[in-house]
Amino acid sequence: MATFRDPIKSALNEYYGKLKQTVGGLTPEELLWQPAPESNHILWTAWHMARVSDRWANSTVLGGQELWIRDGWAKKLGMPEDRYGRGETADQAKKFPAISIALVLEYYDAAHAAMLAMIDALERSDMDREVYSEYRGESLNIGWILGHILTEESQHLGQVAYIRGMQRGIDG
């Protein structure tokens, strides 16, 4: 039966599907290109989006370990286990390691699947339940978190599309 869970799952699949399309065919230089010295590049943004999904679903809402750590994605990508992206400096974006976008998307596939499973398992009554977000230092209710995931991830997708557009033009 149709429910309001449907638009949430549909939106999750929409932004993730569009991200994969939007990074398609980009060269390593294009992935690391910064339009201004303090701007994020596409590779950083795609990696951060995967980290955002992983943390909200597996750690904050489900109270378990991030796949980044549990399944060794930090090691596979040669990055610190505590690196997440929030509040990073311009220098950190600039010095970001030239990791494989394919590997980032493999990690994101796993995080996205966990996110969808989490949504399926939530009940209406969970929406009011508060969970503690360690890195933000605040308690948030799950209903708010679901809306936030959609807006945060989609904002970053919009940035990826915009940076691609700056490099390749409107039809690139």
Partner: protein, 170 residues
């Protein structure tokens, strides 16, 4: 919050509130600055975001008149572009008339108030309602999810353009 519907409304509240924050203090030149010749400006994006939400929710889902039409906002803003901005050319983006950003937010607030009434009246089972246009069919469930994704994408672009102009903490 006690339903998935509230999460959708919460996401919508979040992107509009954040958009208003991101616009604070920007000059007319910054609002109309293009990152490249094919790139959208902040003012065009704000107008487009309001039109998109109006069309999808007040136009399509409620199958009613948009607030743009019922409130005569084309005349109020002198924006004569037909449609909601979808597939506008770079020339059209550049030629958006000078418009008071406060007027655009008045329009957006009116859109939002109407849109929330529409959403409040939707039931779970409405999510499978179909909408067809130009040989393509989709559901109300898809449309609601899409509105959050599309609008948030544009908000992310506004924030990014502001960052290009003003730097990380601008």
């Amino acid at each position: 919050m006690n339903s998935f519907k509230d999460s959708i409304k919460s996401g919508m509240t979040e992107y509009l509130d954040e958009l208003k924050q991101k616009l604070e203090g920007l000059t007319e030149a910054e609002l109309r600055w293009q990152a490249s010749l094919d790139s959208n400006t902040i003012v065009w994006l704000v107008w487009h975001m309001a039109r998109v939400e109006d069309n999808w929710i007040n136009g399509v889902i409620a199958s009613g008149e948009t607030v743009w039409d019922s409130g005569d906002w084309a005349a109020k803003t002198d924006i004569t572009i037909e449609g909601n901005g979808y597939s506008n050319t770079p020339d059209e983006v550049r030629s958006l008339p000078e418009v008071d950003i406060a007027d655009l937010f008045d329009y957006y607030d009116a859109v939002r108030s109407a849109a929330f009434s529409v959403i409040d009246n939707l039931k779970d089972t409405d999510m499978s309602n179909e909408f067809s246009r130009g040989g393509r069919s989709t559901t109300f469930g898809w449309i609601l999810g899409h509105v959050v994704v599309e609008e948030s994408q544009h908000l992310g672009q506004v924030a990014f353009i502001r960052g290009i102009i003003r730097g990380l903490n601008g």
